[in-house]
């Protein structure tokens, strides 16, 4: 069955509304369905939340082809790259030049079925030779499952090539989180842990930093195999390249603060048991109890903002002070979608 209807591109609304609209249009009000669409590469991708719905709408050119399947007999493996075209496109050739013959197409599962376990983030602000990987230990039983070692790497310095000590991944435990993501490999050089450079730090220090961040570990590596890198130029042809480019001002400290802020939010919550009752998460103290010191700091920063700070940092400040501006939220959402795109690109 085919239906055709129009949608206002600038105001796509929420996924729930859209889902209701589809059910209404097809006159199947009480049937659970899977919604998919084909993106510009001809990949069949799911629509099941606001983010990928907005993405779908924004990529419609001008037509958005939507596929609806009854959930019971849905074929989950239908989603993925190359699913519609069934031919090797240029992008996958670049990404997997060595094994594209043997490997079948990549299957994308439904994002709501499980938590994210890893992602590549900040692709646009890192050099192409680096990769920033986020491992979500939270909620999984899988061990992180990797080892690090001392080593030396060659750097280009003003005095020519120089051998400097570095930290490297020495081993991946089979079945561990690190191995299962495929984003980390033995002999990858570790450059940063949760935004903090490891150069000059000892193996034990880096170990402690990683363990301290183990619930939400973000490692920036220089992969040993540089052939799998995301090539910057081809990225613009990717499914979302242009949208991030335009919406995110690429000032590094700002982005760093962004994701650390996110980490702060998603950070582990300690548990309290009162009078041998039920364990509960310890809430954050009300902002009113925030120290005077922090208030003075905010004032300080306001002053400096007037002295020519980037407006973007003001947005961050607003966020930290608890009053989230609408503009910021949009930005945040875009940022998240970028993360997920990262996963898709390299998987």
């Amino acid at each position: 069955e085919f239906r055709r209807f129009s949608l206002e591109r600038s105001k796509p609304g929420k996924f729930e509304e859209f889902y209701g609209l589809l059910q209404h249009v097809h006159k199947i009000p009480n049937v659970d369905v899977l919604v998919g669409y084909t993106d510009i590469h001809g990949d069949l991708l799911p629509i099941n939340n606001d983010d990928n719905y907005h993405k779908a709408v924004s990529t419609a050119n001008p037509l958005l082809r939507i596929f609806i399947q009854r959930k019971e007999d849905a074929d989950y493996s239908a989603f993925g790259t190359d699913t519609m075209t069934r031919k090797k496109n240029v992008l996958s050739n670049v990404l997997r030049p060595d094994n594209h013959k043997k490997k079948p197409h990549i299957v994308i599962s439904m994002p709501q079925d499980f938590r994210p376990v890893s992602s590549i983030i900040d692709v646009d602000i890192l050099p192409e030779t680096h990769r920033r990987v986020r491992l979500y230990k939270y909620g999984t039983d899988k061990p992180l499952g990797f080892y690090i070692r001392d080593g030396s790497s060659v750097r280009v310095t003003p005095h020519g090539l120089e051998k400097v000590p570095g930290i490297f991944i020495s081993r991946l435990v089979p079945g561990g989180l690190a191995q299962s993501t495929g984003l980390l490999a033995v002999n990858d050089e570790v450059l940063e842990v949760n935004g903090i450079e490891v150069s000059g730090k000892s193996l034990d220090q880096v170990t402690d930093m990683m363990i301290a961040n183990s619930r939400n570990l973000i490692i920036t590596v220089r992969p040993a195999n540089q052939r799998n890198n995301v090539v910057r130029n081809s990225r613009t042809s990717g499914s979302s390249g242009q949208s991030t480019e335009s919406s995110l001002p690429s000032s590094t400290p700002n982005i760093l603060a962004n994701f650390l802020q996110g980490e702060e939010e998603s950070d582990e919550e300690d548990i309290i048991i009162e009078d041998s009752g039920e364990p509960q998460q310890i809430p954050k103290a009300a902002p009113t109890s925030e120290s005077l010191e922090s208030l003075t700091q905010i004032e300080l920063l306001h002053e400096s903002t007037q002295n020519g700070f980037l407006p973007s940092s003001e947005m961050n400040l607003n966020h930290s002070a608890g009053s989230v501006s609408m503009e910021y939220e949009v930005q945040d959402a875009e940022h998240k979608s970028l993360e997920e795109d990262g996963t898709i690109i390299t998987l």
Partner: protein, 960 residues
């Protein structure tokens, strides 16, 4: 987020920080590690000690100390003071000579290296030609005579170290007039000793190792006398009047030689082997001291019968019919005699013997009958028994201070009353700001109380917990019990005794309440003793209680050591801290945390299995809480049980060796002397090291889990009177933090004083906080309504602290190895945190609240956290905002034992072990600085000296 906005840019705060914080390593307490040389200046009355790491330390009157370090870090072989000068020369094992001077600079003397010099031989000569073996600073203060391995004696000018080649005394010149047959038999070999004639500075006595001794005339550059010794020479000593000298030899003999103008080849007056007739060890140094009554003191090192006592480190003192061989527990490095140095005095009249042994300094009073030891005011051997823990208490009330001193003085009755004989220099440091105690726990079950107020760390009182227990140590195992007619007349001196009779006696935790005099100590075998200060000797029964920390947990078997057996019935205790109750943890695992609340009369203790609370007033266990994770088998078996048992077996074998040594005194001594022990230790260390190196250097990255081992290990205990349940009523509470990141809070009900004995103390668990990062909790602290840490028990009652603010809301600070977190109370919500490890990759090892005063104004002070990390950095973190104020590198990160030994004081000072026997003292405060400040004045002897001194002063004036 806020951490990205640099808070440090506030100029007012930055200025204040400069007024509050400053890092200084101020003084080293204790006994220098691996001493290698000793020197003494009778003129300055200063002693100098050199070490194998190239340090030299000068000591005079208490508080007068100087330290210098040779850049080369080579072993100091010899130290010689320049006669009548504030200068000394050191010889290192790289054959370099160094001239050091004490010069005054802005009101205090400083030790500085002035020159260095390496003797150069003629081109092509072997290195042995210039290898220095003997140094003689001439009394003219203008030249140094340097005896070498080649037998030549070189002369260098002072202070320039210019070689005076034309004045070299060659061995050929010396041998010219020696009889042919003697010459043929033995060449000169190396120069063993150089001694200036006591009356005639133009004559020096030269001793060669093969036995030849020559009296050399410096004016005419020729030998005046040849003394044809037949034994290998070790050392020489002039009698005071210069008519005779004495030589000591490798075969354990000494010989007296007359010096007269007529006889050019004198025969020995007397040749004696004091511990003959069987072969003896060498006598390496000898003194001949004249006295008014005519009987000389003959004091010599070594000479013991080779077979039976060859392993002893002895110095014998012979005075008429009295003879004692002082027997040291470690190798004798060197010794000197303090005697009348007045040139006009007719006799030596020795007053004291100062012996530098490898592990301690021993001073013997030679004037008092029985030759008792003198209690040194410094250079304490902290490691008499290995230090296992330390505890610092600041600002001791005078009353307690006096009582401790009085208890200690009763222990020191066997010491001589002689004033400290090394009394040069003047201490000009201000009086210590307060009375501070440093308590060290030792492996042998003792606690030593040190006066840590000033520069001289000295022992006030020693407490032993051994009497409470039955140990397998033989009470008759006393090496001092000697029969009347024992020969040689050995007498053990010194306190260094590295052997613990039972490692379970080791002290692990100490808590002293300075207001009440209650002391709690806890040890390796789960023993917790509560003590009270008693000024009199007393006999009483120690109450026993058991705390079963496993409670209902079934199916566990403790594989560690057994608990100590206790002595039943009445036990006699000497004046001082006397135990009145013993709480025995079951299983008897090492006690890992301890807290005492003297006002509530409660003691809390924790092990790897759980924690408990004991009411020491009613002598009743209040509750126990098991913290052991059901799957944690390792904790039950005792951590590192294999390593421990290995250590134990080593220790046992040493103890066996020692026993056999003691019992076989008359027979051939067993081989186990200290150097062998050290060798074995070194080998053990080496093996362990090799084992470590074989393991691949990689680190596993894994999140902590609740199932990790030792999560139940109780790391910290804390008493607080705070709002635990609701914000209207505060109550006593006990807080415990574990290795697995759990914090338990118990609400306590302590009956009011009038019903304290009638009603039981009750406890109820009120809260349990699980930190999701699961790092070990190393500190818990409650801040009052003004964000000030709660005062210590009884502090308010003694009017020494403001009462805590019970109106505003309290906050809870939990310090884990990785994070600092502030929670609100009574409703626990997280307020602030500092994620130290995530940011810097370092972990908290020690944390204390310290009060910092401003050096600019007296009316400003603030409380901050002093933190030591596993990287050896000291950080100061503000309260209550948890902002890093400042960071100083303090201890090398490889120095694990140094980091583990660190204690902070409440006023921003700290101590850590730089060797088993030395504490380094450091200060983080601008206000409280305890460091040596002293002046050494040159007693004006000659005009020449005066001029020199003056020019020295001008020099420093110009420099400044």
């Amino acid at each position: 987020m806020r951490r990205f906005l640099r808070p440090g840019h506030d100029p007012v705060r930055e200025r204040l920080k400069r007024d509050l914080f400053q890092f200084n390593k101020t003084v080293e307490h204790g006994f220098p590690h691996q001493p290698s040389a000793l020197g003494y200046s009778p003129f300055l009355r200063l002693m100098a000690i050199g070490t194998r790491s190239g340090a030299i330390k000068l000591y005079g009157a208490p508080g007068v100390e100087f330290m210098g370090l040779h850049e080369e870090n080579n072993t100091v072989m010899q130290i010689h003071f320049i006669p009548d000068q504030c200068q000394l020369v050191t010889l290192l094992d790289d054959n370099s000579l160094h001239l050091w001077s004490l010069k005054q600079h802005s009101g205090a003397s400083e030790l500085r290296e002035e020159h260095r010099f390496t003797l150069k031989g003629p081109p092509g000569s072997p290195p042995s030609a210039t290898q220095i073996t003997a140094v003689l600073p001439h009394s003219s203060r203008e030249v140094l005579y340097l005896g070498t391995e080649s037998g030549n004696i070189f002369v260098v000018e002072l202070p320039s170290f210019r070689a005076l080649e034309d004045r070299t005394i060659t061995s050929e010149a010396v041998l010219q007039r020696v009889p042919e047959d003697y010459c043929n038999r033995r060449s000169c070999e190396l120069v063993e000793a150089l001694r200036e004639h006591p009356k005639n500075p133009d004559q020096i006595l030269i001793g060669y190792s093969r036995g030849l001794i020559v009296l050399w005339d410096l004016q005419n550059n020729k030998a005046t006398h040849h003394f044809l010794g037949s034994q290998q020479l070790e050392n020489l000593y002039w009698q005071r009047d210069g008519s005779k000298f004495i030589s000591c030899h490798y075969d354990g003999s000494y010989t007296q030689w007359p010096v007269s103008s007529d006889n050019k080849q004198p025969e020995p007056l007397e040749n004696l082997v004091p511990y003959g007739p069987f072969p003896c060890k060498a006598i390496s140094k000898i003194y001949w001291q004249t006295t008014k009554n005519g009987l000389p003191y003959i004091i010599f090192q070594g000479g013991m019968p080779r077979a039976s006592y060859g392993d002893r480190h002895s110095i014998s003192v012979v005075h008429g019919s009295q003879q004692t061989a002082f027997d040291f527990t470690s190798r004798v490095i060197d010794f000197f005699i303090i005697f009348s140095s007045e040139p006009t005095a007719e006799f030596d009249d020795p007053s004291a013997m100062v012996v530098l042994a490898e592990e301690e300094l021993v001073v013997i009073d030679l004037k008092t009958a029985g030759w008792p030891a003198v209690h040194p005011p410094y250079l304490a051997s902290l490691h008499c028994s290995a230090i296992t823990c330390s505890h610092h208490v600041s600002n001791i009330p005078l009353k307690l201070w006096e009582r401790i001193i009085s208890a200690g003085s009763k222990q020191n009755i066997h010491y001589s009353n002689m004033p400290w004989p090394i009394d040069g220099g003047t201490n000009v440091a201000p009086d210590p700001p307060q009375r501070d105690l440093l308590l060290t726990g030792h492996e042998d079950g003792t606690v030593r109380f040190w006066d840590a107020s000033g520069v001289c760390l000295h022992l006030l009182y020693k407490l032993s917990t051994v009497r409470v227990f039955l140990t397998d140590a033989d009470p008759n195992d006393n090496m001092n019990t000697l029969g009347e007619d024992e020969w040689p007349p050995l007498r053990k001196v010194g306190t260094f005794d590295p052997y613990s009779d039972d490692p379970r006696l080791g002290i692990q935790k100490i808590y002293l309440c300075k207001y009440s005099g209650y002391l709690a100590v806890a040890g390796t075998a789960g023993q917790v003793l509560v003590m009270e200060l008693n000024d009199e000797d007393a006999e009483h029964v120690v109450d026993h209680a058991e705390a079963d920390l496993l409670q209902d947990q079934e199916g566990y078997r403790w594989k560690g050591h057994e608990k100590l057996k206790t002595r039943d019935g009445v036990v006699r205790f000497e004046a001082g801290f006397q135990p009145f109750v013993l709480v025995q943890c079951q299983p008897p695992a090492v006690v890992t945390s301890l807290a005492l609340h003297s006002e509530w009369k409660l003691v809390a203790f924790g092990t790897s299995h759980g924690f408990g609370l004991f009411d020491h007033q009613q002598k009743r266990l209040v509750f126990v809480k098991c913290t052991l994770h059901p799957s944690d088998q390792l904790a039950l078996e005792g951590p590192l049980s294999r390593v421990k048992s290995l250590k134990k077996s080593l220790r046992q074998s040493f103890r066996r060796i020692r026993r056999s040594r003691v019992s076989s005194r008359k027979r051939r001594g067993a081989g186990g002397n200290a150097s062998e022990v050290q060798e074995a230790n070194a080998k053990f260390d080496q093996d362990a090291l090799q084992e470590m190196e074989l393991a691949p250097v990689q680190r596993k990255i894994e999140a902590r889990s609740a199932e990790d081992s030792f999560t139940g290990f109780v790391r910290t205990l804390y008493f607080a009177d705070t709002f635990l349940r609701d914000s209207s009523r505060h109550c006593p509470s006990l807080w415990a933090g574990t290795n697995g990141g759990t914090v338990y809070a118990f609400c306590l009900r302590v009956p009011p004083a009038e019903r304290r004995m009638d009603e039981p103390v009750r406890a109820e668990q009120a809260k349990e906080i699980q930190l999701m990062h699961r790092a070990p909790v190393v500190g818990i602290l409650v801040l009052d309504g003004r964000s000030t840490p709660l005062p210590e028990p009884l502090e308010v009652a003694h009017d020494l602290s403001k009462s805590p603010d019970m109106q505003g809301s309290h906050q809870l600070l939990v310090v884990s190895e990785e994070q600092f977190k502030v929670f609100t109370l009574p409703k626990v919500s997280s307020k602030l945190k500092l994620k130290l490890t995530a940011l810097e990759g370092c972990r908290v090892r020690k944390v204390t609240v310290a009060n910092f005063g401003s050096c600019k104004t007296d009316d400003y002070s603030e409380n901050d956290l002093a933190v030591l990390t596993n990287l050896g950095d000291v950080q100061i973190i503000s309260l209550p905002f948890l902002k890093l104020q400042i960071r100083y590198p303090c201890i090398r990160k490889e120095d694990v034992s140094g980091i583990a030994s660190c204690v902070f004081t409440k006023y921003g000072q700290g101590f850590y072990l730089i060797s088993p026997s030395e504490f380094e003292r450091f200060s983080l405060s601008t206000k409280w600085l305890v460091e040596p400040r002293c002046v050494v004045d040159v007693p004006e002897v000659t005009s020449n000296n005066h001029v020199h001194n003056k020019s020295g002063m001008e020099n420093t004036a110009r420099k400044s």
